[in-house]
């Protein structure tokens, strides 16, 4: 077995916001009928969480369920529990039309926190990130400069951000540049 490393290998930057590699994180794409009792039960069995409403995230201790599209969820769990979690899903959804795939190593997972977090992200994404518009628990897929990105905001004010692994460096450098001291816009007060 090779030793798994994240694409950013622990990178961290402190500026107007703190940007850090979230470390090895289990990520499972689950596609199926999100309105069905079977999928609801399977997700509950797999990560102990409910299915989020449209464009929402529900999170627990080290786990989360993210609403990706009308027929797709992203399950977040511990990196070393992915195989077990997928096995649980497959068992619970036997006979159903569904797909559960380990995408942990295909993504980069970042945390963005601090007073300038909203502004840093707003420089890169065409999304209203004011406190009134983007509240904890909201999940959004969008464009971050030239690449697709997805993020959700937790109760502590930290953004959890996901991009493709192949653009990890690009994404980190974008955020770093947007958070460089001297670049304050203070649009959100």
């Amino acid at each position: 077995m090779s030793e798994a490393v994240t694409p950013l290998n622990g990178a961290r930057f402190e500026g107007l916001a703190t940007i850090e590699d979230a470390g090895l994180t289990g990520m499972i794409t689950l596609r199926g009928d999100l309105a069905s009792k079977e999928v609801k039960d399977a997700v509950q069995k797999a990560v102990g969480l409910d299915i989020p409403a449209q464009r929402q995230a529900v999170s627990g201790q080290g786990s989360a369920v993210l609403w990706m599209s009308p027929d797709e969820l992203l399950l977040i769990c511990a990196y070393d529990s992915v195989s077990q979690t997928i096995a649980t899903l497959e068992e619970a959804l036997k006979g159903q039309h569904f797909l559960a795939v380990n995408v942990s190593d295909a993504r980069t997972y970042l945390h963005l926190s601090g007073a300038g977090a909203r502004e840093t992200l707003a420089k890169l994404c065409p999304v209203d990130l004011s406190e009134a518009a983007f509240t904890p628990g909201m999940f959004r897929r969008t464009r971050m400069a030239q690449v697709p990105a997805a993020f959700w905001l937790d109760e502590a004010g930290t953004f959890h951000l996901i991009c493709f692994r192949s653009v990890a460096d690009y994404a980190f450098n974008l955020l770093k540049t947007a958070a460089l001291p001297g670049g304050e816009v203070e649009i959100y007060g």
Partner: protein, 109 residues
Amino acid sequence: MLILTCPCCGVTGEETEFHQGGEAHLKRFGPGASDDEFHTYMFAKENPKGVHFERWRHNNGCGKWFHAARDTVTLEVYGTYPAQTLEPPKEIRDAITAKRPGWTWREFA
């Protein structure tokens, strides 16, 4: 800049979050079609000054396809509606009529 609302995930976002996917409501001609039919399907596209119907994909978002009715002159978006329709729904046609009475586009009016 267009502001589009994706009917699949409900996001109202700006144009760069989406990608245009050509003319809407095309009738496809494939094997068995005449050369004329295939040529028309393949190359003869609407290029109106005014009301237009297009396919769009929420490519930086939920990834789904949908339809949009918009105005190529004013850049107003009259509305978006699901990809699983063969013609613009009544409320979209009414919204266009309110702004552009007497509009036509292919067989629709």
